[in-house]
Amino acid sequence: MQNMNLRDRLMQADMENPDTPASPSAPCVDWRDMGESEHFVQFYEDDAFLVGAVSGFIGAGLDAGSHAVVIATQVHRDAIDRRLRACGLDSAALQAHGRYRVLDAQETLAQFMRDGAPDEERFHACLGTLLASAARDQRGVRVFGEMVALLWAQGNPEAAIRLETLWNDLGRVHAFSLFCAYPMRDFRGEAHGKPLMHICQAHSRVIPAESYATASDADARLRSVALLQQKAVSLAAEVAERQHAESTAREQQSKLGMAVALAGLGIWEWDLDNDVLSCSAQCRAHLGLAPNAALSYAHFLECIHADDREAVQGALRTAIAAQSDCHIEFRVIGAGGHPRWIAAMGRCFRNGGYRMLGATLDVTERKQDAMLLERTVAERTARLQESIGELEALSYSISHDLRAPLRAMQGYAGILLEDCGARLDAEHHTYLQRIASAAGRMDLLIQDALALSRLVRMEPKAETVNLDRFVRDLLDTYPNLQPPHAHIVVDGPLPPVVGNEAALTQCLSNLLGNAVKFVAPGTPAEVHVWAERMADTCPGDQASMVRIFIRDNGIGISKETHEKIFSMFHRLNPDYEGTGMGLAIVKKAAERMGGRVGVESEPGRGSTFWLELRHASPPPPHSGGPHAAQKP
């Protein structure tokens, strides 16, 4: 030990002092070589390293007969003192002699700090005096200070940099070398990059932290630099990546939040195992819950209108049992006691434990609209029913009461002819006949009008009609459709159709009646009836329709009037009796059966009226005989 110089002893001290963990001081710095007025900064990662470095710096100075000043924390002061003594320096004697001065960093700082910044005047008063006294004998002064590190650690980098500047100013007045130290841990984070540069600029020499400083030679240092560069680049890349991901996530989050807010959606999550219900502010507002109260299923149920509670519980039970989605709507008692309608959508799933996640929405307006609509529809339907009822009563009354006087007119005219015919002359006979026929025509008008109004009101039941039998029965019923009045030939069998017997009777009796009526005087009526399968108007249809044709040898109809003849009260030919409503009845009856009517005709060449109805699929073979067998 005696043979060793101080530096070597200082280097070795770690091994011998059990208080200090083994950590070599910077081998790249020879503390004896320090200039007389240097201001350098040491970054360190480990306290032991710092203590070693400071002890080397101070110890070498004291050993060389210089003055030394240590302004440090209690812990560092004690550790340095131990180290100096371990190296054979009598620190107590040196202090007593005035060559070694030890100050507390915090206390010293307090002497010149004002409003969070070092005061220049006080700084000079405090430390300028001290250094002036130490520098007086020209043997050099070494100073270690960590007040800047304290300021830095307190989060006041401006004050730290300002203090470094004040030290530099002081260095221009007095010759001393100053050792500053900053723990590397206080420089984490990118924001510290710039202040670090400022600190480095404030010093004449920078000693990097031990992971670099302890490298044994230049080569190792270069490798270390390369490694650090690689680390820096990869860290920078990683940081950028994370920042990008975070900003994307933040952006998505904010977009989602905006959409949720715009939609007025409340968000909720229910941890079933622990019965903890978490609700967003909007969700709490929907349910009428206080903003911060802890929630459970019971709290949720309490919000719900008593009448809806059971249904909600049932829906939730079902969703939980099936681990599926549910959509429920219920009432809650909102502000002012008015019930609000809330829709809740939820999904039950297992993620560790059972969970349910979902959203709520205030649907009061929609509900109210729907209820209003329902009420309006009900009211209008009732009103419509009422007017239909009134219309029915009216037409019933017409059929009974309006016809009674006509019957009387016809009756008395008839009786007069019968009883007094012999006493009346020809002219009087004509008058009486005209009264009777006018009354008869009026009666027909009333009956046709009633038939039409009945067709308009009726909901015809669609049924399969055996058209062939139907037409033959019809011909048997009406004497005017039989010889010698008319010769009607039916090309059978006619296919079955979908129709309604009452409506079909109106159609065919009118069409056949017209066919035999509108013939030239003296010409016997000849009518031909047949049917063809037709394609429907919709594309791709093969032959779903049946068109029944009724061709006559009558007077015919000019093309211009083909459309008009199906409208009400359009009597084409005043020479023929009629109410002008027959074809209107035909058209209406066809439409009520889902069919249509039409005509092909030319004056003098007869007419062909047609009625188109949907074809009825024939019944299955076992349920009925062949078609021909159904004929009468």
Partner: protein, 160 residues
Amino acid sequence: MNWVLYAEDEANDIFFMQRAFGQAGLERSLLIVNDGDAAIAYLAGEGPYADRGQHPLPALVMLDLHMPRRSGFEVLKWIRHAPTVSGLPVVLISASDQEGDIRQASMLGASGYLVKPDKPAELLPVIRVFKNYWLSPDAPTDEIGNLTGYHNLMPPAEPA
């Protein structure tokens, strides 16, 4: 003598009916009341109709469908539930040939349904058939099915 009770409020129709009965040789057998309540009072033998010597029970009842106070349907229903007269043949007479009315008459137990003919002369054959069918004990006829505007709704009851 077989009597026929005819309930009708329309004077013209009463006149035509009386004329047809006269032409059929039954001028004295037609008893007229003018509304549904009177028809029931007559058949029950109540009030002005208490004296059966003056107001004998008829062999046939003809009811206009649309009458004041009680309709033909209501009177028919009453008849079918009145033990003394429930077996009487009852024909409903109406200007309407609506299916609903005819079905209703059948359901309530009418014996027939006559649509008032446009020409009063057409009444005569109907009354002749009625005469042969319900008013003389030994008159078989199948004419009844051929009458226009007349619907034979049920097998005729045994003549009273």
